[in-house]
């Protein structure tokens, strides 16, 4: 079976806002020829239950991700900058690190 003859459908990443107050969350992917069919497929697949509010589909090849080789410079912020965390500093009161203002 020659898949090219069928026009192998593109991959789309699916993002769902499952309910109010939540950001869209990546839930998986579907295969579809175009955005309309991708949305329909995503609806059928990821919203069969619950009360979902909104659905996004994004072509998988349109998602740009940080290259693994660049990971260290990209993601090293937390390691060398302990002063970004409250625990780096003394607590405000006697109750210790869980003191009122630290919560």
């Amino acid at each position: 079976m020659n898949r090219n003859d069928e026009g192998a459908p593109a991959s789309w990443e699916v993002f769902l806002r499952a309910r109010r107050g939540l950001a869209h969350q990546h839930v998986g992917s579907v295969r579809a020829a175009g955005p309309d069919t991708a949305l329909a497929a995503a609806r059928d697949l990821y919203t069969r239950r619950g009360d979902p509010l909104s659905l996004w589909v994004v072509r998988s090849d349109a998602v740009h991700a940080a290259s693994p080789d660049e990971r260290d410079p990209y993601f090293s912020g937390a390691r060398h900058k302990p002063y970004r965390y409250p625990e780096h500093f003394p607590p405000l009161n006697d109750k210790g690190p869980e003191g009122d203002h630290d919560q």
């Binding site: 079976m1 898949r3 069928e6 026009g7 192998a8 459908p9 593109a10 991959s11 990443e13 839930v27 998986g28 992917s29 579907v30 295969r31 579809a32 020829a33 175009g34 955005p35 309309d36 069919t37 991708a38 949305l39 609806r43 059928d44 697949l45 919203t47 069969r48 239950r49 009360d51 979902p52 509010l53 909104s54 659905l55 996004w56 589909v57 998988s60 090849d61 998602v63 740009h64 991700a65 693994p68 080789d69 990971r71 260290d72 993601f75 090293s76 912020g77 937390a78 390691r79 060398h80 302990p82 965390y85 625990e87 780096h88 690190p97 869980e98």
Partner: protein, 384 residues
């Protein structure tokens, strides 16, 4: 064209989750939490990558698509997820055959929802498999060509309406026991897919049990039909839904048990599986016996009896070799399942071609394609 962003099918430098490091304790500065493996430079060797991988598994962390992973781990996952996905979609067939013959509109609606869920489970799993660098079209080709298989459980016909109940109660019940631990499997996308599957699977089992209860409370003919369905679906569920025996306690011969045990040990060391096949099989029997008693049905195994000493029900050992011969890919029903699947795929070719032609035309005309143009307007009304 089908490039996926998150596929990590080549060895990559091991990553470290800064968020996790920052969140582990409140007392120590996050810098103290950095993994030593993460300081590996660009030329990190295989050993170091493996050590980091092993450490993540050891800590019960998930492996994500961009992480380096051993080839064997990737292969085992692809094989298992593909087999699982194939089983979901092939599993639609025995029950799907009864959709037009359901005895009431209510039962028909329920069965449609259930069969649709099975299709969905297959798609969740193909999506998860694709994060490992395979293409779902290739997996389907492998199924059609017999290079990969679906669970042989479904290579049985659903002869009566009661079979739809027995399948849901017994094979879906077995699936839940198999799948609940998979919600914590070590590969992130697989675990997340399984959580969705498990949430939906509970409905399948309950509606099946409810269907059986209705038949058992009905006429003697209806009750006999329920018993007949259980007689035919009990062994396929208990033998085939859990895979080959992998302990000698499971009752198989030493060679089969050793073969099964080797695979299970590897899968458990990698955190893909959490329990042996035989352990899960026992759990299934322990749950089903009282359920069958409440229905007034007899499980077709005279060896079933409560063993006070073990705290479990005894049951007949699984004669795996017999099953393997009787249910190989060359049986009548195995061929029918695959032929049906291939026919559906081939007959749907014109739909896929039309969708591709439509998408190409829309793209050429530069028109913003329908509802996707404004993601913020995607509200529930559009779900119909």
């Amino acid at each position: 064209m089908n490039a996926r962003p998150a596929v990590g099918d080549r060895p990559e430098q091991a990553t470290r989750d800064a968020t996790r490091a920052a969140g582990t304790t409140t007392a120590a500065p996050p810098s103290g939490q950095a993994h030593s493996a993460a300081s590996a430079g660009q030329g990190a060797g295989q050993d170091e990558l493996l050590a980091h991988f092993d450490a993540l598994i050891e800590q019960g962390e998930t492996i994500e698509p961009r992480d380096w992973m051993p080839d064997g781990y990737r292969r085992m996952l692809i094989r298992q997820i593909a087999q699982h996905a194939h089983s979901e979609i092939i599993g639609m067939q025995p029950e799907g055959a009864w959709l037009t013959r359901a005895p009431s509109l209510h039962r028909k609606s329920v069965l449609i929802a259930k069969v649709q869920d099975e299709a969905g489970h297959g798609l969740y799993l193909y999506s998860a498999a694709e994060t490992l660098g395979v293409d779902r079209a290739d997996l389907l080709d492998a199924l059609h060509l017999g290079r990969q298989r679906a669970s042989a459980t479904f290579n049985h016909p659903a002869l009566t309406w009661a079979d739809t109940g027995a399948i849901a109660w017994l094979t879906d019940g077995a699936a839940v026991i198999n799948q609940a631990p998979l919600c914590r499997t070590s590969y992130g996308p697989y675990a997340r897919a399984m959580r969705r599957v498990c949430q939906e699977e509970a409905f399948h089992v309950r509606q099946g049990y409810d269907l059986m209860r209705a038949l058992c409370k009905g006429t003697p003919e209806q009750k006999a039909m329920a018993q007949d369905a259980v007689d035919r679906w009990w062994l396929p569920a208990v033998a085939l839904m859990f895979g080959p025996p992998d302990t000698e306690a499971g009752g198989s011969d030493a060679r089969t048990a050793a073969l099964g045990a080797a695979v299970s040990r590897r899968a458990m060391a990698w955190g893909i599986k959490r329990h042996t096949n035989d352990e899960l099989r026992q759990r299934f029997v322990d749950q089903c016996v009282p359920q069958a008693e409440r229905l007034g049905l007899t499980l077709p195994d005279p060896a079933i009896r409560w063993n006070e000493e073990r705290g479990h029900y005894d049951f007949s050992p699984i004669d795996w070799d017999t099953y393997r011969t009787a249910l190989g890919e060359d049986t009548h029903w195995a061929r029918r399942r695959i032929d049906h699947r291939k026919a559906a795929h081939d007959e749907g070719a014109w739909v896929r071609e039309a969708a591709a032609a439509y998408a190409a035309r829309e793209e050429a005309s530069g028109a913003p394609a329908g509802p996707a143009a404004d993601v913020h307007r995607q509200t529930q009304e559009e779900r119909v």
